[in-house]
Amino acid sequence: MLMSQASTLQDLLRFHRKTPPCTAVIFGANGDLTRRKLMPALYRLAWEGRLAPGFAIIGLSRTPLSNEAFRQLMRDSVAKFLEDSPFDEDLWNSFAQGLFYMPGDVGDHSTFQRLADCLREVEQSRQTGGNTLFYLSTQPSQYAEIVEGIGAAGMAKEDGGWKRVIIEKPFGHDLTSAKELNARLQKVLDERQIYRIDHYLGKETVQNILAFRFGNGIFEPLWNRRYIEHVQITAAESIGVEGRGGYYQEAGALRDMIQNHLLQVVATIAMEPSATFSPDAVRDERAKLLRSIHVMKPEEVAANTVAGQYGPGRVGGGQVVGFREEKGVRPDSQTETYAAVRFMIENWRWANVPFYIRTGKYLPKRVTEVAIHYRSAPLAVFRNEFGDNSQAMPNLLILRIQPEEGISLKFVSKHPGAGMTLRPVSMDFNYGSAFGERSPSAYETLLLDAIIGDATLYTRQDMVEASWTAVQPILDYWSTQKFPFPNYPAGAWGPAAADEMLSRYGHAWRRP
């Protein structure tokens, strides 16, 4: 086979990965997400020279707008919502030549036929080679219908260029609805064409954790049940539902954070090394890990989970209302704003090592971290001789994710001076991203990755279903309970039951 000469000019040490030409079709182009996030991200990518010449965008929603009116609307949004970058009128004018709008209702079949015609025209005039990225920025209930419309109009066929579809979360609200959605999507699309957004762990963080685990010879041998006692994952928010009470009431902490985001963290921390670093090899291992999570029997749920809901309390020196007093929330709401779960992983590496996960609103500080608790030294030599019990403090490895990404290792050292007293000390490392460089917004990274075809940050059907499988028994059990909510005041570290759950197993939550 002849090697293509086209790549010769690529300078892998210095250039960004090259992006193929394509047309992005945005469903819901008149909406909040498009205006606030997608369009500023695409403009910024153009500003950085990351988009191929001829890159085009077709916006679609019901409101009748001309191309010109759409360009003006997007110009105003980009100028308003562009963060930490200058708005350059000349560059915008050049970028806007590739912006088109098509009014249409996704509930109407003819919309998709018109879209196919419009797409063909744009492909020709902008020389995009038929590559198409569909972005579903509409309500989740419309996802399946849109994908079916794309399929019926022949736009999903990869006979001239690739076709990919980006879907915003949530992917179903339980295991059954997730399976149903996946089944409808897969009637039209191959799994590799579907990009489901789950960007809680930015790519840098995923890669940093993997680099830390698998790029260093000294940690991986200690990364198993022999040396690790238990693992704690905390994702604490210091704010409440911030006006999204109505939405949150239907979701709750387990669905909103644990089912998707925090189980992804568990998967990254606990997965086996993959044979290569390709997105699919890494996702295979993460999926395998998610499938190894013990699925609780109904009678196990009460002892291994805690639901909480904040009541009124004092936060940051001010009084705040409880969840049930928030706008849009029922006064007897049974939705949890805090969840703690003890997951067990059934494989040789992790048997009998509990993974404690907690997340909540209105906790004392915003912090996301993974704390690996190592087993104590086997013999407390210093306690015997010097009456010091610091050695009982086990080593801790903290992978800090927010607000400062980094790694800390806690160990004990001798207190300076006479006598043999020990004290815990910390060795800290902060990642480069903490050193003030501009990092691209999540949507810049996501869009670029989808255009390039890198699915590291996107989740696959098997991952989505495996994580729903792990939380479904908890959802089922909780739906039968009447919790004595509220059970923690805003500004506290969750309900007392969460502390009690850990103490039953001989552990205690770390105070981050």
Binding site: Q5, A6, K18, P53, S94, E404, F435
Partner: protein, 325 residues
Amino acid sequence: MPAAQAVKPDAILHEISELWNNMTKPQPGEAPEEYSSGSLRACAMTLIVFINDEDDPRALDGTLEAVMRAHPNRAIVVRLKEDGDELESRVSARCWMPVGHHREVCCEEIAITASLNRLVDVPGIVGPLAAPDVPRVVWFRSPRLESAPDISPLLNLTDKIIVDSERPGAPAFADLRVLSQVGHIVADLAWTRLTKIRELVAQLLDGRELGAIGNAFIDFSGTEASPGARYMQAWFRSEIPGIDAALHRIDTAGRGEMKAIRIDPDLNIQLGPNCAEYEIGTLRQRANLPECADCDLLREELNIMTHDGAFERALQRMSVWIPRS
């Protein structure tokens, strides 16, 4: 004139320890808490910079500070004086608070002032001062090194040598080539300045059969083409088989800078301040090409601690050396 003092690396290292001890002592009443407000000492490399003593210290300070944020380093700044008999050192720390963080990050800086006649002592001082187990990079910014009798002990201290052939007093291409041939990792900021333009050209030619491209013209303004224009020509020659890449003077008004790149049959890139306008086929577009400050160029170079194949191939193609004055 003060007599030259002895500068002892051990004493400087001791001063650095003292500096840190003082900086990390908890304030009265402050608990030695985990996320304490203390400073984080950061060092991922040693950056050794040779400059002229009379150079504007504020400009260099700004550059070093910006570089440190991306590549925390122990900076050793050697200020070279033409005359006298002087050798002195001073230790300080540069600290900053990353946006949204509550713990400042600090790097140490050692300033050494040496007169040219004491340059011979510098390697013996700088060597032990370099932080262990992390890369060492030297940035030669002082044209005075030209008159130094032998700089090979300095070169042997480092893992990477950075020069800027757009500055007066830079070594000739042939010298860089020799350094590269004997195994040194070398970089020229005149080449680094081309990254964005090269990337744009690569993007625009993506998918083309490169062997089928016959001609390229690099238009420049000035009596002689700048090192940047020459590197562009060399890059085409080294990467596009059989291309006839010519430098083309459009006027004598400038300092040799590139004004346009034209590639057969239909690509025309006009370079303006901070941007490029290009035509390819029926498309006419604008690209953003912000001017790079020294700190941007250094950041890019400090990311690369291996041999840079594309640069080394282009360097082998460079011939004429017209020094900047």
